[in-house]
Amino acid sequence: MTLIIGLITGVLFGVFLQQAEVLRFEKQVAAMRLKDMTIVKFMLSTIVVGAIGIHLLQDLGAVSFAPRALSLGSQVIGGLLFGAGWAIIGYCPGTSIGALGEGRFGVLWPIAGMLVGGIVFALLYPFIQLNIQPIGALGNLSLHGVLGINHWIVIIALAAGSFFLFRFFEKRGL
């Protein structure tokens, strides 16, 4: 059942990504060139609605979750490496599969690169776990936990910040 729900969830997500036009190389690279913020609008809209939804579920006792563990070494080095690769290929892992569905067959090259990257990661895994992961490993920290405030205050601030950012993008035609 989990598998079927996973497939349905993926199909719907694929439809939303495609209709939002965020699967396109041009939209992804234009965001990194600070020319078109479509993907940022999409991501932040998803995040604000998702944050409200999952925290409501948590407050109702329906689910419980903890943020991914913080390791400054992993997230800073890995994040910068990912960003560099992302700018070159113009797709992230999820959108690459969606772009293939849209007919952008040239994305097979980046997908091949990411599969090779999967093996490179597997071979580097012991080194990363030993030397990079422990740098600044601070555990499952959340923003509201560290600030010592209610999570809804952070969510309201996130929503307000997104709103002003969206207004800025629309005014500038980004």
Partner: protein, 180 residues
Amino acid sequence: MEHNNFLQRWRPYVFGALAGLLLTASVATTGQFFGTSTTFPRMATLVVDIVGIDLSETYFYQVRDGSLTGSSFPNWQLLFVIGIGLGALLAAKASGTFKREELPQMWVDQFGPSTRKRALYSLGGGILAMVGARMAGGCPSGHGVSGVSQLGISSLVAVAMFFIGGILTARVLYRKGGVA
């Protein structure tokens, strides 16, 4: 035309918000948060196994009984990733936006029409992107959407680094005058 511009403008917000509702529904029904990048090393190890290269002695294959490798298939995320491709195909066909394309126009404008060049950059970039995503513990869906929705500091740091790395690299790649 006026009407179309209005719709176009709201597109990323409306579909983004729908994706947020979908994330909520996914967590409520299966407890699964969105994520895609883990499927790539899993798929890659599966391919390596099929080809007949034996990596089973490596540490990566032994972590959590092989849950990082293809032996964990089929699982929720694999079906989710396949679904993204199917959903995009359906939506593109239904809306008449399906378009066969070998090379992105923005790429050709800067780097020329060589498939070989695009392939080489794609392999290098793809390796960087995947090693980086897995090292960071997620990609724009896992860290970006799911992790930031949970207000996790690790995800906020990761997403900031994705964009800093991406913006700096794009500045170099797409500087005026072209890269060779």
